[in-house]
Amino acid sequence: MLKMVMSRPEKHRMYLKQLFYEIENLGVNSVGIVVIISIFIGGIMTIQFAYALMNPLYPSYLIGLATRDTLLLEFSSTMLALIMAGKIGSNITSEIGSMRVTEQIDSLEIMGINSASYLIMPKIIAVVFIFPFLYIISVFFGILGGLVTGPLTGTITLPEYVDGIKTIFVPYYATFSIIKSLVFGFLVASVPAYFGYYVQGGALDVGKASTQAVVNTNILILFFDLILTRLLLT
């Protein structure tokens, strides 16, 4: 399927138009949920780290540091990709799957349009393009969530939290996670597109394909997370 997807577009301008539409539909429309999840998770992590590091032997800035590094290394890349596999992935499978069962894909083919390329390529490019931005947004709002929740709940003071955020910052963590988010972006778009494109039957089958797509994407994300962590971080 990837060979069909990556073949030369019939008309570049139409594909570009489709790409901008997908960036808005799949990317920009996901910013809200990313912000909400990240703020809450950032806040919850801060409280939990404060609880786990209650021992007076541990310096309190460790709470901010742990929150920051967890967001940088795992949550904003992997966990967010798992969540986005549910939101974006199911959207892609159901959209393409519905087009398949209502003969819209056949209609494109009869017109002489490479349907796989026209429908899937802009989605893959859009998601791969938007994922690093979502990662950055998630890290920012996750840290902000901790910054607000920590002092508000009295688990940590604002200067201690800020101190923790600034301590022992490793820029490579961000580079590593951006590489991961590019790979996850590809998985989140391509796996559900595959399930949607080859669905057969009716509405019920589209629903089943959507579930299968999300489950398989999640497994692949975790599998690639393991491989990339082993390759790039050790």
């Binding site: 519905s98 819209q104 009869i110 017109m111």
Partner: protein, 254 residues
């Protein structure tokens, strides 16, 4: 003209088309009729190249569709218009966007020229200007079919295919669609192939009728001859409708 020669197609050993040879004439409405599962849709999809045939040949005028490469096939498809059973309109774009889509994809027309062509096609199928900006989900089944016809003729095709164009429509709307198909076929001199089991369509527009039974072409004739055939399978198919059975019994002309 479209000619299919000795076409065979099977799925997992189940023979769906058995050595079928048919000539579909230009400027005529060619109807393929038959029971559900007789191989009508498979034949249509074979002619369109959506299914590869096991053996035989498919000719579009002087071009052997089965022998040409994918690139040429793709180019040839721009000469084909197709109306699907459910319309198959693109949900994410408006009525006029659907008709403009093939023009955007395959022509170098200016926006104004494309808009003129869109209006020409939509007015030909009697779609009111108020409906141009609506999405396909906001229009009725009959309108969807008419928009699908407008989209199918947007690139001025030489060949028009319709799969069950009247399914799910009331008799009055069905007659409108039938009339539209025959008018467009004459006006644009197209080779039109219609897959149907709607008996009203058979009588109204069946200039040439091909009856398929269990994957074989059993009968060829016109709408004038179809009620008086001696083929038992065709008679079973047609006179399953009590109205036609009564008409035959009373020897009423159609």
């Amino acid at each position: 003209m479209i000619e299919i020669k000795n076409v065979c197609k099977s799925f997992d050993g189940n023979e769906v088309l058995k050595n079928v040879s048919i000539v579909f004439e230009k400027g005529k409405t060619n109807l393929i009729i038959g029971r559900s599962g007789s191989g009508k849709t498979v034949m249509l999809k074979c002619i369109l190249g959506l299914f590869d045939i096991d053996s035989g040949e498919i000719w579009y005028d002087d071009r052997n569709f089965t022998a040409i490469g994918q690139k040429e096939r793709k180019k040839m498809r721009q000469e084909i218009g197709m109306v699907f059973q459910g319309g198959a309109l693109f949900d994410s774009i408006s009525v006029e966007g659907n008709v403009r889509f093939p023009l955007d994809m395959f022509t170098r027309m200016s926006f104004k020229e494309k808009q003129q062509r869109v209006e020409f096609c939509l007015s030909h199928v009697n779609i009111d200007k108020k409906a141009y900006k609506l999405s396909p989900s906001e229009i009725s089944g009959g309108m969807k079919k008419r928009v699908a016809i407008a989209r199918a003729i947007a690139l001025n095709p030489r060949y028009l295919f319709c799969d069950e164009p009247n399914s799910g429509l009331d008799p009055e709307t069905s007659t409108v669609i039938d009339q539209l198909l025959i008018d467009l076929t004459k006006e644009f001199e197209m080779t039109t192939i219609i897959n149907t089991h709607d008996m009203n369509s058979v009588i109204e527009i069946g200039e040439t009728i091909f009856f398929l039974n269990k994957g074989e072409k059993e009968w060829v004739g016109t709408n004038r001859e179809v009620l008086n055939s001696n083929n038992p399978h065709l008679n079973d198919f047609i006179f399953a409708n009590k109205l036609y059975a009564l008409m035959r019994r009373d020897n009423n002309p159609v």
